[in-house]
């Protein structure tokens, strides 16, 4: 492990400005780390080392000229769901293999404008559909962590598994992710890092390949809360190109890290103590509660009564939107096209989409098509929309009593590749603690809070009020201090 790659983003930023090392040196250290470890982890689909080094040279000039941006010279990884100009953007799907957008997503545009540079595009579940990063056409991502009792390859979580693994394995300083039902928080938890999903509408969705438009939200992975706050500040803000992006001004989230949460009321929802919750997870949650109390916060028992319907609701709404969002991948204008021998249009559609989409994507397109069909719409989609409203209302009611909510991020630690693959429902259960927040559009962070008996990281989730990421970050900062999580993944020899 290089000294440089072990620095936090904030430390690297300050050192770059103090000219202790150059952006090129820092970037080169990461390029080397990617070269060394990516073949094993498969965290990146596309590596853009040359572009990163070139960008670093430009950053060094800017730093020298005193024109450094907020992230000047910081090497980042970008989930391969964000369109990047002239760089292959695949969404983890065969259907987009080789697709090079002639435009840039608003989120990455903001990062480059702030001076950050791109090391590459990270692997993900195909079209962000999955909780294990095992549905990517470009292969599984391997979690850099290893269990004490075995040498099996573990999943990094999903869908942003490549970004989480890359940040945990010190292959980048931070990485973008997207979260639709837990796709940032769950992999952050599995990889022992921080992952923030901001309020729906905080970041622009322009140029981010859509999975479920009413749920998709960009966020950041970082190795600590401060780094997450710094980068999240940069990618937030209104975008006239996305009608659902909020016009609210973005606060400087780093400034929210005051370390003081005295008097804050933190809710603990009883419905999250699900049947069969492992004692490990229950103990971790209790530990979190204890830290908050010690820091002067008040713990309040709350109820979110519609929680038990959240997964079912999510697995109607998200596939419904996906079935429509993915209709554009038809082999006509870009991406894969399989030309049928008989030249028939319907055959072209069928063959192209059959060959281009993986199993999980097909499953969700079929579920989504079904729930929107005539005769089923009211029973499924419409009802799910009503329940979604009730779930959001649960949170609104709770927030009349509390300032934020504490829950575990996932029901378990990272599992072995292939473990949940036979039963899609078992896989969907991974999102049980993250999905309600997504349905309600609320901000939430996952931070590493401890290790399982097997030596694997476990995360806690803090859920905030809409557009109150500041409180979320502030509480996360205090808990991070209390948790003193120093463990690092063994898998890549860091």
């Amino acid at each position: 492990m290089s000294e440089l790659t072990n620095l936090s983003l904030a430390e690297a930023r300050d050192a770059l400005r103090a000219k202790k090392f150059s952006a090129k040196e820092l970037t080169q250290a990461y390029v080397t780390a990617v070269e060394q470890h990516n073949p094993k982890l498969n965290a990146f689909i596309t590596v853009t080392s040359e572009q990163a080094i070139k960008g670093a040279e430009a950053s060094d000039k800017k730093i020298a000229a005193g024109q450094a941006g907020a992230l000047e010279g910081i090497p980042l990884a970008i989930k391969d769901l964000f369109c990047t100009h002239n760089v292959q953007t695949t969404a983890g799907s065969k259907i987009l293999e080789g697709f090079k957008p002639q435009y840039e997503s608003s989120v990455t545009e903001k990062l480059w404008a702030a001076g950050a540079n791109m090391l590459g595009k990270t692997n993900l579940d195909e079209f962000a559909m999955g909780s294990s990063n095992t549905t990517s056409y470009f292969g599984n991502v391997i979690n850099p962590w290893r269990a004490k009792d075995g040498n099996k390859d573990l999943v990094p979580g999903g869908s942003s598994g490549g970004s989480a693994a890359a940040v945990a394995a010190r292959l980048c300083l931070a990485a973008t992710g997207t979260d639709t039902g837990g796709s940032i928080r769950q992999p952050a938890s599995f990889c022992g890092i921080v992952g923030i999903k901001p309020t729906y509408g905080r970041c622009s969705r322009y140029g981010t390949i859509a999975f479920a438009s009413s749920l998709d939200q960009a966020g950041m992975f970082a190795r600590n809360v401060r780094d997450a706050a710094i980068t999240q500040t940069v990618i937030s803000g209104h975008d006239p190109k996305d009608s659902t992006s909020s016009p609210k001004a973005t606060p400087d989230f780093e400034k929210a890290l005051t370390g003081n949460i005295k008097g804050l009321k933190i809710g603990v929802p009883k419905e999250y103590r699900v049947d069969g919750m492992s004692s490990e997870i229950a103990d971790l949650w209790d530990k979190g509660i204890k830290w908050l109390k010690e820091a002067g916060a008040e713990i309040v028992d709350i109820s979110l009564p519609h929680t038990k319907y959240a997964l079912a609701t999510y697995y109607i709404i998200a596939p419904a939107e996906a079935s429509s969002n993915l209709a554009r991948y038809d082999g006509i204008r870009y991406g894969l096209r399989v030309t049928p021998e008989n030249g028939a249009l319907n055959e072209l559609y069928c063959k192209t989409r059959a060959a281009g989409f993986g199993k999980e994507v097909k499953r969700r397109i079929m579920i989504g098509t079904y729930v929107l069909s005539a005769g089923y719409y009211d029973a499924y989609y419409k009802k799910a929309q009503r329940v979604r409203y009730l779930i959001a209302q649960d949170f609104k009611d709770a927030y009349t009593k509390v300032d934020a909510i504490l829950t575990p991020t996932t029901p378990s630690a990272a599992f072995a590749i292939g473990e949940n693959s036979k039963d899609p429902i078992a896989m969907y259960l991974n999102d049980v603690f993250t999905v309600p927040t997504s349905l309600a559009g609320l901000p939430a962070i996952s931070l590493p809070a401890g290790l399982s008996a097997n030596g694997l990281p476990l995360g806690l989730q803090i859920i905030g009020k809409a557009f109150d990421e500041e409180t979320v970050f502030r509480i996360a900062g205090v808990m991070e201090e209390a948790a003193q999580f120093k463990a690092v993944p063994q898998g890549v020899g860091v």
């Binding site: 997503s105 969705r205 479920a212 190109k241 659902t244 209709a327 038809d330 030249g343 249009l345 098509t369």
Partner: protein, 484 residues
């Protein structure tokens, strides 16, 4: 107005019609993207990343199009919904890049309204408007250029359309034609659509069903893409006859979508109800519900121009025009403009008579629209001025008018060249009268002894001798004096 009936073997049939009109909004850019709307560009010249359905692209509503839809709704005296929702209509087709069309399904921007149509007998009929909703157009598939490939032109993809749906209130092909013309006139007045059916900026689908008068509604068929008033009338006539024949032969009408073929004048099955798409409508999560305030609507309302119905009422009341002339003059925006320009400087009734009788007669014969009239408003005004200042008589004016229409010359030019100037010189007319009286002493005596009818003889003689140029009023006056 006698009711329209189609005669069948078993008696008279009533035809029930409803129209769905797609009117392209006159706007610089498309409904959800900044790409231009220009007609006649090279294929795929006006296509943005959004229109092409590129990954990650999002629609952003064009506020101007919203305003145009509200204007149109107000023009149709319709209820404006302060909250409406954009839905996705899902289906696969190569000229539909997103795999869905953004439309409005359950909550359209404009609700129920009403339109009056003017029947030729001077009566009016009220036709219900069901709704007006916004949607984007699809692109165009071109199959002609190659037998191996189809080509896609996305210039139209994403252009803003207003779909205006009528109630099944229309009862004859003629009414349907009048409805379409009136609708076109309204959107042209409002400036929200150019109404050009040839360019495809106004397209029409017709729902046709038949029944015995007084029966319940029959099963309807939708006839797609009837792109002129003439074709629409033809299509309805054909379709009604087809349906009647089926029913009278003991058959049943299948609800289906049919296509009108303008070369054969027939309709044929496009898709049956069983093959109908399940469009899986659902609210587009990329767009927030469309909400605006009553103040916004009121502001637009304040900028509405005077619409045909109001204009007609004013022409009758303030200008003294006949209801028929008034409805003819307001039926078309260009005609109204012509009339108002001329009437502003002259007696409106005189202007109306010359436009509705003379000008329209000549234009119809020459198969010309008013925009292409060889007699411009200025020239028409020149002619009326000569009538009003007694330079020429109404009779001479008709001669001048014909020459103007053929030559494009001004009235003054023609009057000058042909020496048609009216004689208003009292002395000259008196001289003519004296000569005629001297040549016809018997007629003068007869008149003076009570044969009043002979007055017309003297007028005729004076006009004849003057070559029609003597001012008729003066002739009248002087003759009366001299013959007394």
């Amino acid at each position: 107005m006698s009711e329209y009936r189609v005669k069948g073997k078993t008696g008279d049939w009533e035809v029930i019609l409803g129209l769905e009109v797609h009117a392209q909004i006159s706007s610089k850019s498309k409904l959800f993207s900044g790409a231009p709307n220009d007609f006649g560009s090279e294929p795929n010249e006006n296509v943005s990343l959004v229109d092409a359905g590129m990954p990650g692209m999002l629609p952003v509503i064009n506020e101007y199009c919203i305003e145009q839809a509200v204007r149109t709704g107000l023009g149709l005296k319709a209820h404006i919904n302060l909250r409406s929702v954009f839905d996705r209509k899902n289906y696969f087709y190569p000229d539909l890049p997103q795999g869905y069309q953004i439309s409005q399904f359950l909550d359209p921007i404009v609700g129920k309204g009403i339109m009056h149509i003017d029947m030729p007998d001077g009566t009016t009929r009220d036709i219900g408007i069901t709704r007006l909703h916004l949607e984007q157009d699809a692109g165009k598939s071109l199959h002609e250029n190659s037998n191996k490939y189809s080509y896609i032109d996305l210039n139209r993809a994403g252009i803003a359309l207003m779909e205006i749906v009528s109630e099944p209130d229309l009862r004859s092909p003629e009414e349907a034609g009048l409805y379409l013309k009136k609708l076109r006139s309204i959107v042209r007045y409002l400036g929200t659509c150019d109404g050009d059916m040839e360019k495809g900026s106004m397209r029409c689908d017709v729902n046709v069903s038949v029944r015995k008068p007084g029966d319940v509604l029959g099963t309807r068929c939708e006839i797609k893409n009837v792109n002129s008033v003439r074709f629409m009338i033809k299509a309805i006539e054909f379709e009604a006859a087809r349906q009647i024949e089926i029913i009278e032969n003991g058959g049943k009408i299948d609800q289906e979508t049919r296509l009108f073929d303008s070369t054969t004048g027939e309709t044929r099955t496009m898709r049956s109800k069983e093959d109908a798409h399940d469009y899986r409508y659902f609210p587009d999560p990329d767009l927030l519900p469309l909400e605006f305030t009553q103040e916004y609507v009121d502001k637009i309302k304040a900028t509405l121009p005077e619409l045909p119905d109001d204009k007609k009422a004013r022409y009758i009341k303030d200008l003294g025009l006949s209801p028929y002339d008034a409805s003819v003059l307001v039926a078309d925006h260009a005609t109204t403009h012509f009339f108002e320009t001329v009437a502003a400087k002259h007696n409106p009734k005189l202007a109306s008579n010359w436009i509705t009788a003379e000008l329209f007669g000549r234009l119809n014969k020459a198969d010309l629209e008013i925009d292409a009239s060889p007699i411009s408003t200025d020239k028409m005004s020149g002619l009326l001025a000569l009538i009003e200042d007694n330079t020429i008589s109404g009779k001479i004016a008709k001669v001048v008018f014909d020459k103007m229409f053929e030559s494009g010359k001004t009235a003054a030019q023609i009057v000058d060249e042909e020496g048609l100037k009216q004689v208003t010189d009292t002395g000259a007319i008196e001289k003519i009268i004296d000569d005629i009286m001297a040549a016809n002493p018997d007629k003068v005596a007869e008149y003076r002894s009570g044969k009043d009818k002979l007055f017309a003889f003297f007028i005729g003689q004076v006009m004849k001798v003057s070559g029609g140029k003597a001012n008729p009023n003066l002739v009248n006056e002087l003759l009366k004096k001299k013959l007394a």
